[in-house]
Amino acid sequence: MTSLMPEGLAIFIECLVIGVCIILMYALLAIILIYMERKICAFFQCRLGPNRVGKWGILQVIGDVLKMLTKEIIEMKNVDRFLYNLAPFMVLIASFLTFACLPVNKGMEILNFNVGVFFMLAASSIGVVGILLAGWSSNNKFSLIGAMRSGAQIISYELSIGLSILTMIVLTGTMQFSEIVEQQADGWFIFKGHIPAIIAFIVYLIAGNAETNRGPFDLPEAESELTAGYHTEYSGMHFGFFYLAEYLNMFIVAGIAATIFLGGWMPFHIVGLDGFNAIMDYIPGFIWFFGKAFFVVFLLMWIKWTFPRLRIDQILSLEWKYLVPISMINLILMVLIVAFKLHF
């Protein structure tokens, strides 16, 4: 394409196409995830979920999306106009940036540099700014309390996520996502680094849940306590952005867990069973990736619909008194295992 037009324009068009692709995938994944959540939550509660709109209710979410698109965006009088409109976009941009890091198939990731993991952690922290802006600019006491709680919660759990991912980086020696997946060709990391990897996986799931304000940690948006917390004053598509970003953040947490712990797009190989390995190789990489990510999403939903909500002091004490010490001890354990070559 550079023969037809100047190079800057070619790169620009390529970036535009990639941007449109990301947005389309985003929307499609959100629709699938919202449908999955409604059906799975219903099954856990011994009921059927949506089954009237379309066979098995698959058109229900599309109906919901249309409803949200056509709702009026109510103009508030006393809000801080610029920050109020900016907040949903900041949350969405943080979400897009982390989404672009996920390796979906061999060679098929959008952002791939040698400090990939570090970049991902940094980009997910931009979301906190969006939430705090939403709470502050809404000119509403409940929103402010919700935003402050959410800010405290997310900043605390960043530590646990960082430590548990760091534990796995000790095992891999590289922070580049494609390298991390390549190194799992002969066994996923959760099997290779046995005990510390499993502990790190569990800590990562709990901390990832709390990062995205989901599951038993959804106090900042607790519908029955704070009337929707930091996104109370948003309606129509602005609320739709927060809603979307929450589901996609959950998927991204699941995707990162699938990449670092469960092997990304690598098929399930058992060392020595060559026939089995050959069959597993036939299934394309992105099906493996999405399958693993959806499995982790199922685990997160299972946790959400089993446990009651935690209070804010319980959330913070869980993090600082239990998860951080456990993560640090786990890190030392992993370092010892790598140094003495006790892993597989």
Binding site: F44, W302, T306
Partner: protein, 159 residues
């Protein structure tokens, strides 16, 4: 002793993990269980309500078109909403004694609250509730029902 164990750091942590796993096992069992939701309009052919369901007030008649109501009026007095209205007439029996019998038993389905006080008050089990629950009509006057069939009379007990 048990409380002391739970208060310590490690004991508390392990106890917490154990209870969380019990909870998760319960929900995953419910996940795979057959759901109890009744898909209403589609299952009308096989739907059977439970025995004590209060659907519609009826006065059961046997094959000789006889009912058990002696027109005592206890159900009319028991009803909190004045739904039941009994009309009686006095006839002469063969022995020459004057007897009161039921001529019309009016029941207003629109104002019934299905409290079952009338069924409980009846000393002869003349009225009861059946399982029929689809009584929507387009005209309010269709809700005023007459429960005794035309030409029916009181069932005489064999001594």
């Amino acid at each position: 002793m048990d409380q002391n164990k739970k208060d310590s750091y490690l004991g508390g942590l392990l106890n917490g993990i154990k209870t969380l796993l019990i909870g998760m096992k319960t929900t995953i069992t419910v996940f795979f269980r057959k759901k109890v939701t009744e898909q209403y309009p589609e299952n009308r052919a096989t739907l059977k309500m439970f025995d004590r369901f209060r659907g519609d007030l009826i006065m059961p008649h046997n094959e000789h078109n006889e009912h058990k109501c002696v027109a005592c009026g206890l159900c009319q007095m028991a009803c909190p909403n004045d739904t039941i209205h009994i009309t009686t007439e006095t006839i002469e029996t063969e022995d020459g004694k004057k007897k009161k019998i039921l001529s019309k038993y009016e029941y207003n389905l629109g104002s019934c609250i299905f409290c079952q006080l009338c069924v409980n008050a009846c000393p002869h089990d003349a009225i009861t509730f059946d399982q029929e629950f689809e009584h929507a009509v387009f005209d309010r006057s269709k809700l005023i029902l007459t429960l005794n069939h035309p030409g029916s009379k009181l069932m005489v007990k064999e001594k």
